[in-house]
Symmetry: C2
C-alpha cells in the first residue's frame, strides 16, 4: 500500500466540514485529541495532563514541558523588547518545571523567523534566553532554527529533574486541604493593559513618548516575570511537601479548576485573601478594571498555587510571601468565592484562551 488508504486527497485540504475549534476551546481540544491515549513505554510515568510530563530512565525522574509562542497572539513586538521576550519564553517553561517541585536543567529553543528579523535582533532574543538560563542554572542544549512567512514563532522545551518522592502533581489535594498562593496576582495583566494603551497612543501620534514612570512593578510583572524557584527552595528547607501544585499562567480561576478537576474536589476561596500588590490595585483603578478580576482571570503571573493539609496551618503561616486563600471542599460543592459581605460567587475558569 502506497500511503494511507483514501488519504491522498490531493488538492482537497479545504473540503472539511466546518466544525469550529473555538466551540471546544483549548482545554476541550486537548481533551478531545488526547482522550484515549495509551502509554506503551515503561519510561513514561505521566503523559498529558499536568504542568509537565514525567519520564523514568532508571535514575532521577525526568520532567519535560513545552510551550509554543506566536507573534501577534502571545506577544506584540511593538512593546516587547526581544531580550525580554526571550527571557520570558524561557522562564515560563522553568515555572512549569518548578510547579512539579522539580529543578529545570536543560532548555531546547526552536524559532521560525520571517525576513524582517536581522541577526542582531535574534542576538537580542537569544541574550534574553541565555540570561534566563544563567540565572536559573539551566543548559541551553539545542533546538531548531528555520524561517516563517510571517513573524516570529518560538517553541521552548524545558527538561528538569526530581526524585520520585519530590514530584508534586495536580491530583494530590484532599477535600480539606488549605489552598495557598505565592506572591501576588493580577499585576502582569495590568502591566499588559498599560503597554497596550501606550502603544495605541503611539500609533495615533508618532512623536508620542510613552510615560512609564511609576509603573515599574506592573511592567516588570508583564515584561520580566520570575519563576518561583525560591518557594520550591523554602519547601525543601522547611521539610514541607504540598499535596498538589500548579503555576498560575492562565489566571487563578483556571488553575484552581485544574487542581479541583484533577484532585476530584471543589474549592472555597475568600476574595479578601487574594494577594494584590498596591501598585496593581492603583493602576487597575486608572483603567477601571476590578483588580480581583485581573487576579482571577488575567494570567501570566507565574506564581505557584498549591495545597497543604490543614494540620500544617501553623507551619505555612510562617513562610513569607505565601498567602492562604481558602480550602478544598467536596466536589459537589463546586468552585466558590466568598466576599467579605458573605456573598457567594461561583467561579468560572475564564482564563486567557488563545483559541476563542
Amino acid at each position: 500500500m502506497l500511503i494511507f488508504a483514501g488519504d491522498l486527497k490531493v488538492m482537497s485540504a479545504s473540503s472539511h466540514h466546518k466544525d469550529e475549534i473555538s466551540n471546544l476551546g483549548e482545554f476541550g481540544l486537548i481533551r478531545h485529541l488526547t482522550k484515549d491515549l495509551v502509554i506503551k513505554n515503561s519510561s513514561t510515568c505521566q503523559g498529558v495532563g499536568d504542568d509537565a510530563a514525567v519520564l523514568d530512565y532508571g535514575g532521577k525522574k525526568v520532567v519535560i514541558t513545552t510551550d509554543l509562542l506566536t507573534e501577534g497572539i502571545h506577544f506584540n513586538l511593538v512593546y516587547t523588547p526581544l531580550k525580554h521576550l526571550g527571557y520570558k519564553a524561557a522562564v515560563v517553561n522553568f515555572s512549569d518545571i518548578y510547579a512539579m517541585n522539580a529543578q529545570p536543567r536543560q532548555l531546547l529553543v526552536s524559532m521560525a523567523i520571517s525576513r524582517k528579523f536581522t541577526v542582531s535582533m535574534i542576538d537580542d532574543l537569544y541574550s534574553g534566553i541565555r540570561l534566563a538560563c544563567e540565572q536559573y542554572g539551566v543548559d541551553l542544549i539545542g533546538g531548531d532554527t528555520t524561517s516563517s512567512y510571517t513573524g516570529l514563532t518560538l517553541s521552548c522545551t524545558a527538561i528538569g529533574e526530581a526524585s520520585d518522592i519530590e514530584l508534586i502533581y495536580r491530583s494530590g489535594a484532599s477535600k480539606t486541604d488549605l489552598i495557598c498562593v505565592s506572591g501576588d496576582l493580577g499585576g502582569a495583566y495590568i502591566g499588559l493593559q498599560l503597554l497596550e494603551r501606550e502603544s495605541k497612543l503611539f500609533e495615533q501620534e508618532r512623536d508620542f513618548q510613552p510615560v512609564l514612570d511609576g509603573y515599574d512593578y506592573v511592567l516588570e510583572r508583564q515584561l520580566k516575570p520570575q519563576a518561583r524557584r525560591d518557594i520550591i527552595g523554602l519547601f525543601t528547607e522547611q521539610g514541607i511537601r504540598p499535596t498538589s501544585m500548579i503555576d498560575i499562567s492562565d489566571g487563578l480561576s483556571s488553575e484552581l479548576m485544574h487542581l479541583c478537576t484533577n484532585s476530584n474536589t471543589g474549592c472555597k476561596i475568600f476574595s479578601d485573601k487574594i494577594p494584590i500588590h498596591p501598585e496593581t490595585r492603583r493602576v487597575a483603578g486608572e483603567f477601571e478594571i476590578d483588580p480581583l478580576i485581573a487576579a482571577l482571570n488575567g494570567g501570566e503571573d507565574y506564581e505557584l498555587l498549591f495545597t497543604f493539609p490543614v494540620q500544617q496551618f501553623d507551619r505555612i503561616g510562617k513562610l513569607g510571601e505565601i498567602n492562604i486563600i481558602g480550602h478544598m471542599v467536596e466536589p459537589d460543592e463546586g468552585m466558590k468565592m466568598i466576599t467579605p459581605h458573605g456573598d457567594v460567587i461561583t467561579l468560572a475558569a475564564q482564563g486567557w484562551n488563545s483559541l476563542i
Copy 2:
C-alpha cells in the same frame, strides 16, 4: 532594577541595523548563536551539535531532539494531506533519535493553528501523529495547543533512550573509515517536484485531475517517509557499531559535511555508488533533473549515513539495503566526489536552507 538596563525601548523594535540572516544561513546562524555556550549541569552530556542532545539522569542516557515546521515553508497543504503531515512530522524526529543509535520513546507535539482549521482537520493531523507513534512504539505525552494568525506551525520534540556504549555521534569517524548509506536517495525531492507540478496545473484549471499513477515510489518517499529503525536493529543483531552516524534530512552533501567537520576528516565518494531508485531516475528524467543532484542536495530521504572501520568491509557487504559509497580521508583533502570517468568534483553542501 526594574528590567534589563537600557532594554525597554518601547516602540523601537525595528530600529536595528539590517544585518541579514541570509548572509549567515541556518548553520551559520546556529554557530553564531551557540558558539560560547557553557554546560553547567552534570546531567547534560551533549548539547548543540548532533542529531539530538544527550542527557544523563543516572540511568539510561536520554536523547532529545526537536523540529519546528511552518506552513508555506516546510509544507504545502494544497498537496500534503494533514494525516501525512502529522505522520511525517513525528517520523522525522524519530529518525534523528535513530541516528544516535537510540530508541525513540516519547513525543511532545505543539501546534499553533489559524482560524481556517476545523476540529476534523486537527483530528486528521493528530491521526497521522498517533499512527506514527503506534508504528514506532512511541508515547505521545503532551505539548501545547494554541492559535496563530496565519497557517499552521507544528513543533515536535522526541525523547529516546540508549546506553552509553550504544550512542553514536557525528564525531567518531576515523580518516580511513568506509562511508555507507541505507536505502536510496533523491526520491523525496523528485516526489516533491511532481506534487508541485500537479498543484500548479490545478491552479491553472480547477477541473484538472492530478495524474499520480506510476509515481507511487517517489510520492511515498515525499509524503510518507520512514525512519530506519530496521537498520539500527540490524546493527544490534549483527553486533556492528558504526563509528559515526547522521540521518539524511538536508541531502547527502550537507550531511557528509557534518560528519567530516565533526570528525575532522575529509571524504571521497564515488558517484556511481550512490544508490538511486529506478523510479527516481525515470521521473528525474521527466523533469530534466540530474538524479545525482537530487541525491546530493535534495534532502528529506531520512536514510542513515554512517561510517565503519575499513577492516569490517566484509561484514557490511552482507547487510542488505546498505551501500558503501566511499571513504573518509585526511581533512586537508576536502570533500570530493569521483565520477566513473575519473573526474574529481568538490562537494559543496547546498542542502535545503530555509533561511536563504
